[in-house]
Symmetry: C2
Subunit: 360 residues, 2 copies
Amino acid sequence: MHSPAAFPCFAVPPLDRALAAELQAVIDTKTKPPGSLGRLEALALQLGLIQGRVDPAVLHPHVLVCAGDHGAARAGVSAYPQEVTWQMVENFLAGGAAINALAGLAGMRLVVADAGVAHEFGVREGLRDMKVGAGGTANYLDDAAMSEAECALAVARGAQLAREIAAGGCNVLGFGEMGIGNTASASLLTHCITGLPLADCVGRGTGLDDAGLARKQALLAQALAIWPERPAAGAASGEDALRVLARFGGFEIAMLTGAMLAAAEARITLLIDGFIVTSALLVAATVAPSVRDYCVFAHCSNEAGHRRQLDWLGATPLLDLGLRLGEGTGAALALPLLKGACAFVREMASFASAGVSDRA
Amino acid sequence: MHSPAAFPCFAVPPLDRALAAELQAVIDTKTKPPGSLGRLEALALQLGLIQGRVDPAVLHPHVLVCAGDHGAARAGVSAYPQEVTWQMVENFLAGGAAINALAGLAGMRLVVADAGVAHEFGVREGLRDMKVGAGGTANYLDDAAMSEAECALAVARGAQLAREIAAGGCNVLGFGEMGIGNTASASLLTHCITGLPLADCVGRGTGLDDAGLARKQALLAQALAIWPERPAAGAASGEDALRVLARFGGFEIAMLTGAMLAAAEARITLLIDGFIVTSALLVAATVAPSVRDYCVFAHCSNEAGHRRQLDWLGATPLLDLGLRLGEGTGAALALPLLKGACAFVREMASFASAGVSDRA
């Protein structure tokens, strides 16, 4: 990558805190001991600031699931064969996957985008064809997973999707992914951007055994070794982060990065799912640090490395249920808590309006 | 208390595990890596076993909020004046409390019962008049909070309410409470039943400062000291637990105990809220240990002592959001997770039905 100029530009505004005192006063005069709704109160404050309202609401929530294939998957970094990526996309379209059940329950509209699955779906209802590469990424064990142009295109298409979703009135967007081999990509991105030891960033993905995990770790160390021009781990600039994304990313991860940047630009709340989605956020938040202010962290995944990503971001997730499925399932499960935060602010009486005595 | 015979009898069946293998097979063949839905999978198994179905569902969920006043509240164990109990009941009836907003969001029907609030409400729509004592309990700093007959009546009325709710088709019942001073009661119950040191069972309730907390601890130590006939802490039989309940309990806590026993008898899932509700469960689970099998623990409260109760019960709560409000708010916030557990079992495709390749 010679210049970040090839990439779309994003102008993510810092969170406007002008309403903070007014919002906090609204929260504190509700008929409950101050602070007694715990993290729901901080969440209400954040949603109110993002939306610029003292009566925040969750409107037209969506979950965007980006799917893509990985050249490295054929080298044996996953417990499942590569064809599971397209088979699971078919499952999303048929309504049979976990995210269908959980997004439906949460009242979230599901948008499935093909960022570059190694399969020809044809024109299909419910599937956004945004293929950047028809055969998935190249194998980063040989060379860069994608070219600079491909990476920029994936980012731009993700941004386009997020802007379309925003235009429909959505103000909370969850992110999910599908791509056999993409925990490996996410591990490399996490190592390069955070500087955490590679071993701390590599986990069992869909369920590798000990031997499979050791093999994955060795392959990923090799992927780093054959790229001497890599930025120093943990010292990535925005430009470096995009170089790392092109080298090791998946098309679906790059598309998520673009979608996050455009969603934050549009003052949408970003509902961050698990390990892979958080790796896309690491890129986005390196490119535009203000993105972090728009994020709600849905859950802590059971995939090794997710908690470390969250710690590095200074994030405390809402749920900790040992999930490790991806697809945006954690985001869908957390959405009711965002609705709860809005509901108490919008619907509860104040001490004065209810005629309840405040503390002595 | 001379005999537990004065108390209603409950026959809580042990959880029937006959369907366990079949349910686990259903869960394991869904299109996801095995175990990847984490605690949602264990929850689905538990709900299926309780309901005796391989396709569990959440039907007509309710939250039962019992309210009562405490003689000891006038001795200064709370940061709020006693009249807040009846004022908050009015707030429930007017729809302005946190539980109104959160139960409504979760699709739970709210049932409010007056177990013994020191206020005359008259006949009111939406309020079940189940007063055991019109002025609240007696002050356990002088003598027993209630007589054996009063305690038995509160338990029986709670059971009656739960049976009515069950008859309406409800299969998940959340529990909540309102009663200024009731964390103090719950602390005494917890100490006597679990044997945990009193200091570990006493917290700030609605928000005592350090001096208030020290005063509360001293008063509760005094309440124990003036009852030499108390059972040895941590060695309570069912009969002992009921004696402790009569000595230190609130009418609302005794009513919750009865409601839990009757709900478990009816094979309803008990959705346990915070510190006070869990103290009622400690009594119920000492009287009938099988009750524990029907419990889902909604959250870990910020009230000191709740985590210790949960540890003592071997329970892992679903949420940990620093809530300390009561009213059943944690139960309402956790209900979507129960719905999610049912939804994935009922709606997801299997590997075979979706044509997805299983792991190699």
